[in-house]
């Protein structure tokens, strides 16, 4: 079942992206579009360093690269008072050139056959199946990041971040510098996104400049799928179900790919239909229930 294990691996790696999107969109309540740029930034940095023989540094610096991108967006928004959406777009556009520069003006770095973290992990555990090791590594990163974030959001600074997305005036009234809080939070969120890109580069064996296109939509879909299925409860729960949502989304795409009933160019609409169908199940159930209540209510009214 390579496809299922593969989808799980991808779901966990993109789960970090979804976590970053969750922090920006749900906790901070900021529509941050810089994910496309910061994801590819992490991807490019990780690929460049891995090609030079430093995969672990690649992952760590990928996180930092993403944070830097997020901080820039934060500064544009707060200090320069640029609208959040436009600030994200500006960062994303600017990072396109930065990413090309990082990749040495080439648009594709290949890591096939080189030592990546995944290959090193496989070598470390010779007795275990290769795909399972890769799954464990992805899972490890995911779990570590989610745990760290859940803990962080319970500290003083974490509380400031959560409140900033809830009631900005109250945060200011509690003598907290809202601007700095937003910049920090965006940096952390995009750091996770950059980390996701960094892992992906080493996982798939190449970094391509177009890997980030449309990635915000993927992150948002994962967040919403997770919330819809598992409900909203608290921050720790929210982070965990976001990762689950990412995995489920990948499985839905795999499902769409597996169907041979439609020609190849229908891939995107088939995956959209599957996601829509899955998300609309609660609404459809409610509609049917209401129809039943109405029918019976009217019937009783006629009788009496």
């Amino acid at each position: 079942m390579t496809l299922i294990v593969g989808s799980l691996q991808l779901g966990l790696i993109y789960g970090l992206l979804a976590v970053g999107v969750y922090i920006a969109f749900r906790i901070l309540d900021i529509p941050d579009l810089s994910a496309e740029g910061t994801f590819t930034f992490g991807l490019a940095v990780s690929a460049a360093l891995t090609a030079a023989g430093h995969p672990l540094a690649g992952v760590l610096l990928g996180f930092l690269a993403g944070s830097l991108g997020g901080a820039v967006t934060g500064v544009l928004q707060t200090k320069l008072r640029i609208h959040p959406i436009l600030a994200g777009i500006l960062t994303m556009s600017g990072l396109y050139s930065v990413n090309l520069a990082v990749m040495g003006s080439s648009s594709n770095i290949s890591l096939v056959g080189l030592d990546t973290l995944f290959r090193l992990a496989v070598d470390l555990l010779p007795g275990v199946d290769k795909e399972i090791v890769r799954l464990l590594l992805a899972g490890l990163f995911c779990a570590a990041v989610v745990a760290a974030l859940a803990l962080f959001l319970k500290t003083h600074i974490g509380l400031c971040i959560r409140a900033a997305g809830d009631n900005e005036d109250m945060v200011r009234a509690s003598s907290i510098n809202v601007d700095h809080t937003k910049i920090l939070a965006l940096a952390i969120a995009n750091g996770c996104i950059g980390l996701s890109g960094a892992l992906l580069a080493q996982y798939q064996g190449f970094a391509d400049i177009s890997s980030g296109i449309g990635i915000v939509a993927v992150g948002l879909a994962s967040v919403i799928i997770g919330e819809r299925i598992f409900g909203r409860r608290g921050v720790t729960w929210g982070l965990s179900v976001t990762v689950a949502g990412s995995v489920i989304y990948r499985l839905m795409i795999a499902l769409a790919l597996k169907t041979n009933l439609f020609p190849a160019y229908c891939l995107k609409i088939v995956s959209a239909v599957i996601v829509a169908a899955a998300l609309s199940v609660p609404a459809v159930k409610q509609m049917l229930a209401r129809r039943k209540i109405k029918r019976e209510g009217l019937r009783h009214a006629v009788h009496s």
Binding site: V171, R172, S174, S175
Partner: protein
Amino acid sequence: MLCIHDLTKVFAPGTPNEHVALDHLSLSLAPGEFVTVIGSNGAGKSTLFSAIGGSFWADSGAIFLDGKNITYDPEHKRAAKIGRLFQDPMKGTAPHMTIEENLALSYSRSQRRGLRLAVCRRDRDFFRSALAEFDMGLEDRMDTKVGLLSGGQRQALTLLMSTIVPPKLLLLDEHTAALDPATAGKVMAITNQIIQKNRLTTMMITHNIQSALSSGSRTVMMDSGKIILDLSGVEREKMTVAGLMELYRAKQHKMLDNDRMLLV
């Protein structure tokens, strides 16, 4: 404690909408003084509070708090020393966070916030005892999300949050106006209790003249951005609602015709 010198603020200068909100206003408060502020709509009361709180910079003039010049300080910096309550009970708390998280946020106002866990056992006990004094049952619901509380409960919580670290100045902007009479009375009683216990310098905006004359030790009346009456001591004790209206007419050459203010 609070010294306002010649404060002026004009909104939209040079346009047809030009409005002089504060007109060379000067005011001094001694430490521990409780001043009530009254005036018709558009008099500039809330604008005065916003200017003190730092929502905007005045065009000219200076504000001193406990000897320090805060005229150009950013809002969040002033918030360390100034507590504010608003009419809207929803404004002062974060609805998706629990009571204890909200309290932890304001409690850490005086310290540098770091990576320590926000709510520890000792803090929790302190919060619980503070909430218990309100006698509203909030101390048993510290894990509830604030969004589930009623308006009066949220306002009481905001009150506690503003005073848990005693501020140098407390600004109350009609904070019971949106509550029903019973709850309003309760919140007002708690307010007085806290002010007296901590000897807080307070300014309170109210639309009820009777209440303004009976609370605190001094009453200030504003009109068109200026302070037109400043009553304290014996003169204030003897003042009645009718007497106040007469004084107003004499000063401003027009009738005080705001219904809400005249309701007893």
